[in-house]
């Protein structure tokens, strides 16, 4: 009885205590973030301005004639180059969503391609299904996008709810199983809906004219840029939210999060769904850009490619995924061009065979990065600055963006 006033005053604080210790596993990161936020407000401002300038630069790129020989196939206003850049940005957006799942929440999924394919095929199939409807075509387009988004959401919620019942390698395997099932269904071509091995071609009857045709590649480029910025902002928002912190804490020490009284399942499911829907958004952009979808984007190999991109760019860094996505796509494209060049054809077989296989070079590069450059490309500046050969993320927590 003597204690009753005490307990009364205690009760409201329990919540605050709990939330304070929630961040305990990531205490260093959180404290660091706060410290940085307070101490380096000008730096944050600079980052913001830098980011804005970069987006503006990318946005005006189609109006300029910048030529980087060896990296881009032509000047930046040509459709071929814009197509490549737009594709690279969509892959970057997709990698960003994958990084949120793998890097932030520590969920190693082998089924992320399923949701990219769900966006691409979902939009393509709804557009085809709505083609006979006598609505105005803009309305049909918007409704199709909403329907495919809803499809992606339901799919993500179902797969996530089931797969997250197990953890670790088993989780990876369940997601792989679902993705494999999706891939098999797409290849089977049920009722002629997915086009099987041939792929699905975009039904342009209800697609706005500004997004169709080689001449309008510029508009598609801006759409891709929009998708990338949108995905980045959502990822940023989620990462800075309470849910993001809990997800990060769960990655570090799930038991501790449970003990505090938070259910990691809900948060992980939330992250899984958001990442998957973002992948579906990127998938829709891909369908419009390529005016079709190929069954390759649903395979396990495609998810492995994403994993390669994220690790290549640097798991600990948000913009690592973007850098990785763009570098990978450009490398893949340029290496393919290189493989067909006369220079390679003139080499002796010992050198010619490996060099004419872009995936061989990328795979080798990837192994070297994992072995010798654990921070990825995005970790290089940090490495040089600190002069350490240690893993920069392990050394002093992710100094993210």
């Amino acid at each position: 009885m003597m204690h009753s006033p005490d307990t009364d005053t205690d009760t409201p604080t329990t919540d605050a205590a709990a939330s304070a210790s929630t961040t305990a596993p990531t205490a260093r990161a959180a404290a660091g973030a706060k410290g940085r936020a307070a101490a380096s407000a000008p730096r944050m401002k600079r980052t913001l301005i830098g980011g804005l300038a970069l987006v503006v630069l990318l946005a005006v790129l189609p109006l300029l004639a910048i030529d980087i020989p060896g990296v881009l196939p032509g000047p930046t206003y040509t459709p071929g180059t814009l197509q490549l850049l737009a594709y690279a940005m969509l892959i970057a957006a997709l990698s960003l969503s994958y990084r949120m799942m793998f890097g932030l929440a520590g969920l190693l999924s082998f089924g992320h391609a399923l949701f990219f394919a769900a966006g691409a095929y979902g939009l393509g199939m709804t557009l085809e299904a709505f083609a006979p409807v006598a609505w105005p075509s803009e309305l049909v387009f918007v409704v199709s996008i909403l329907v495919s988004l809803a499809f992606g959401l339901v799919l993500a919620a179902t797969v996530g709810a089931l797969a997250l019942r197990v953890t670790g390698i088993s989780f990876a395997m369940v997601t792989l199983a679902f993705a494999q099932a999706g891939s098999v269904i797409i290849r089977r071509n049920p009722g002629g809906a997915t086009g099987g091995d041939e792929g699905l071609s975009l039904d342009i009857a209800n697609v706005p004219g500004a997004l169709v045709g080689v001449l309008n590649t510029r508009n598609l480029y801006w759409v891709a840029l929009g998708v990338l910025v949108f995905v980045y902002l959502v990822v940023l928002w989620v990462e800075k939210s309470r849910a993001g912190h809990v997800a990060e804490a769960t990655r570090e020490n799930e038991l501790r999060v449970r003990v505090i009284g938070i259910r990691p399942y809900t948060v992980k499911l939330l992250i899984f769904i958001v990442a998957s829907v973002l992948a579906a958004v990127a998938g829709m952009g891909y369908l419009l850009l390529q005016s079709g979808a190929s069954p390759r984007v649903a395979t396990a190999d495609f998810t492995l490619t994403l994993l390669v991109i994220v690790v290549l760019g640097g798991v600990g860094y948000r913009w690592g995924a973007i850098v990785g996505g763009i570098v990978y796509t450009l490398l893949d494209q340029r290496l393919t061009a290189l493989a067909g060049s006369d220079f390679i054809a003139g080499l002796p077989a010992v050198l010619r065979v490996p060099l004419s296989e872009p995936l061989f070079i990328l795979g080798t590069l990837f192994i070297l990065v994992v072995l010798f450059l654990p921070g990825g490309i995005a970790g290089i500046p940090q490495r040089i600055r600190s002069g350490r050969t240690q893993h920069p993320v392990e050394a002093e927590e992710a100094t993210d963006a």
């Binding site: 395997m173 492995l304 065979v353 296989e357 990328l362 072995l371």
Partner: protein
């Protein structure tokens, strides 16, 4: 009845292939916690080199096949041991990175194989008897199924004997059970890591040569196709359990054959559903130890 028997024996033959791949995967995961994505590449390189040597010695005879098999086993063991020694060993205790390295290796090697041997399947010759059928209870069973089943049984028996009767087998079993304890007792577990990789590689190598007999061709994607099913088998059987892998490979392959026949070619889909169901009901697999 004859259809049923044919499906079961074909399923057993396919299950034998799955087991040859899955046994190595399961042992490697059980002892070292490495999910080895490069295992399919061990299989493919063995199949290619076995075929290259076999056809030069004497194509389409038992001699040629025996030499192919020996070459396949040797190549698989050597390549796997080298992989462990050069790549995996540098990253001990960092399981994600180890898996990533094997992912990179599998991407690179598949591309390399495509560069060397082309993207199209290369059809292989086999001894006449293997191309014929034997009639059992009215079912015409292709003879190569018997060879596959016999080889898988030999490998299973061999590995079980090795694990139970030899000192190294004892260390490996103890290592799967509790690695830190074995290390604490002053035994260098790392040597047995290379050994386990070599054994798994040898089984996969034999599997590669047999797969080229079963499918009638070799191709750069032979390993990756089998690897996905081997993963499924390993997980259903329980990671780290050899018996589990054996039982699961038979279950998965027979189920696949039945679904392909009775449910209009949905074998792959059914297997995947089975995996999801098993994991959700019993996350550690049929015979896996409690995590």
């Amino acid at each position: 009845m004859s259809t049923l028997l044919l499906l079961v024996i074909t399923g057993l033959g396919l299950g034998a292939l799955y087991f040859l791949v899955a046994s190595g995967l399961s042992l490697i995961y059980g002892l070292m916690g490495v999910l080895n994505f490069a295992h399919g590449s061990f299989l493919t390189i063995s199949a290619f080199l076995g075929w290259e040597v076999g056809r030069r010695v004497s194509d389409g005879t038992w001699w040629g096949l025996a030499i192919s098999a020996l070459v396949g086993i040797a190549v698989g063991a050597i390549v796997a041991a080298l992989t462990e020694y050069l790549l995996i060993r540098r990253l001990y205790e960092r399981h994600i990175e180890q898996a990533l390295v094997t992912v990179g290796l599998s991407l690179a090697t598949v591309a390399l194989f495509e560069g060397i041997w082309g993207t199209d399947p290369i059809y292989t010759e086999k001894p006449d008897w293997l191309g014929q059928t034997t009639e059992i209870l009215g079912a015409k069973i292709p003879n190569d199924r018997f060879l596959l089943i016999a080889c898988a049984l030999l490998v299973l028996g061999g590995i079980v004997l090795f694990l139970r009767r030899t000192r190294y087998g004892l260390i490996i079993r103890a290592g799967v059970e509790n690695r830190s304890m074995v290390t604490a007792l002053g035994i260098d577990v790392r040597r047995s890591f290379t050994l386990v990789f070599a054994i798994g590689g040898a089984a996969a190598g034999l599997g590669g040569v047999l797969a080229s007999v079963y499918y009638g061709y070799v191709s750069a994607h032979l390993g990756s196709t089998l690897l996905i099913f081997a993963f499924i088998v390993t997980v259903i059987g329980g990671l780290g359990s050899l018996t589990g892998a054996a039982i699961a490979s038979v279950l998965v392959a027979v189920l696949q054959q039945f679904a392909n026949f009775y449910l209009g070619g949905t074998g792959d889909l059914v297997v995947v559903v089975a995996l999801a169901a098993v994991l959700l009901v019993r996350p550690r697999g049929l015979m896996g130890k409690v995590a």
